[in-house]
Symmetry: C2
Subunit: 216 residues, 2 copies
DNA sequence: AATTGAGTTAAACAATTGATTGATACGCGC
DNA sequence: GCGCGTATCAATCAATTGTTTAACTCAATT
């Protein structure tokens, strides 16, 4: 009969809880609201997850894993230039962060975790952030001389991440700041090119942005 | 309506409310907790501000105004080079955003507003974000050729803001990512120089970062 | 057929919350 | 003193919240 109930209640709760927690935060979200949206009984949360907080942790894990699978990094053939891999990295990261106006709740859930760290934050860093951060650093290392200090290379990595994340964190601000037309133009691919160009130009691996009419 | 002598409690309430709202968010913060910390009666909030939500709006305004006064932009003498003004802008913005581990609650309050826009957000953009965004754009315009498209110039402005904000938004992540020693090294002045250098190098107004032993 | 046990349900619980009330004290001009 | 408005207080209200409980369903197992 009801298609929704073909999926086990526990899974439905996880999905719905992720969305609601992302939208309203842990405290503001009520188990009643979640259970209503998941078409489950109010007691379902406590039965399947113990309590509200445990449901939250599971929802964060669930969302995070789902997002990685959704936008995997490309497999680079041996010898792919570092500049290309940087572009791909930025493109993938931006896609993960920006894709889906309504379906991007996974990212918002993680952003909440960042702004208000809980137990889940450390897991998120260890499992998700650190590997990507080190990959980005290894790419940058190939674009920089051996003598370039590790400390400054890390700052460059932060410059990449910071620019990317800003299009998610600052999105509501941009929407109020720009005309509807200009705001709509901020598409992931365009922004990925821009960010890559800024970094590559800053490194000297591409011509400066200010240079205009120069072509080979 | 309100006498000048009944300021103390109302002012105390504003200060404390800002801190608590920043720390726990609107919903999780309780008027009881705020009043207790402000050494005021539970009814004080409703008496002075009408209700909890109104107190929140006033607290946001208060925090935002206080932060601008605390770190004003320098007065540039006529003819100050655009590169210098860009550096100053980044430095000031970073200081506003990063300064004070425990006293930076004003920024956290605004970040919450960004992640979860309410009525106060539009006011914040109109009164605070837009003027600074246009100032930054005018500085960048001087560093770019006339023909440089406005759209791409705005992206550059976002690159500046994004890098700066990341050291506030991503701070908890960085603390988990870096060693305690490396994390402590992330001081505003150092970061301001880095960000300015990245942007100026990308524009061609400064030598590329990868260039090492080059000096005039 | 009887039993078991996981899953679901409605009802209720205790605690917390924002908001209201009525009383009281204080300061002021008259 | 008297009247009047402001501010604070303890007590309380009505609503919401997370959680618990006990009864019920139903398919698989014995």
């Amino acid at each position: 009969m009801e298609n929704l109930h073909d999926e086990p209640t526990k899974r439905r709760l996880l999905e719905v809880a992720g969305r609601v927690f992302a939208e309203k935060g842990f405290r503001a979200a009520t188990v009643r609201e979640i259970c209503l949206a998941a078409e489950a009984n109010v007691a379902a949360v406590n039965y399947h997850f113990g309590d509200k907080h445990q449901l939250y942790l599971e929802a964060v894990k669930h969302a995070h894993r789902q997002r990685i699978e959704q936008f995997p990094l490309p497999q680079w053939p041996e010898g792919t230039p570092a500049a290309v891999r940087l572009r791909d990295f930025v493109r993938t990261f931006l896609a993960r962060v920006m894709h889906g106006e309504g379906r991007g709740w996974e990212v918002q859930l993680m952003l909440r975790e960042v702004l208000n760290p809980t137990e889940a934050t450390a897991m998120l860093v260890q499992e998700y952030v650190r590997p990507h951060f080190e990959l980005l650093n290894s790419i940058l290392a190939e674009l920089l001389p051996e003598s370039f200090p590790l400390e400054r290379r890390r700052l460059l990595a932060f410059s990449v991440i910071g620019q990317c994340l800003h299009y998610r964190v600052g999105r509501p601000i941009m929407q109020l700041l720009l005309s509807e037309e200009d705001f709509r133009r901020l598409q992931p691919d365009l922004l990925a090119d821009h960010i890559s160009n800024v970094i590559l130009a800053a490194l000297g691996a591409a011509p400066p942005l200010a240079a205009e009419g120069e072509s080979p």
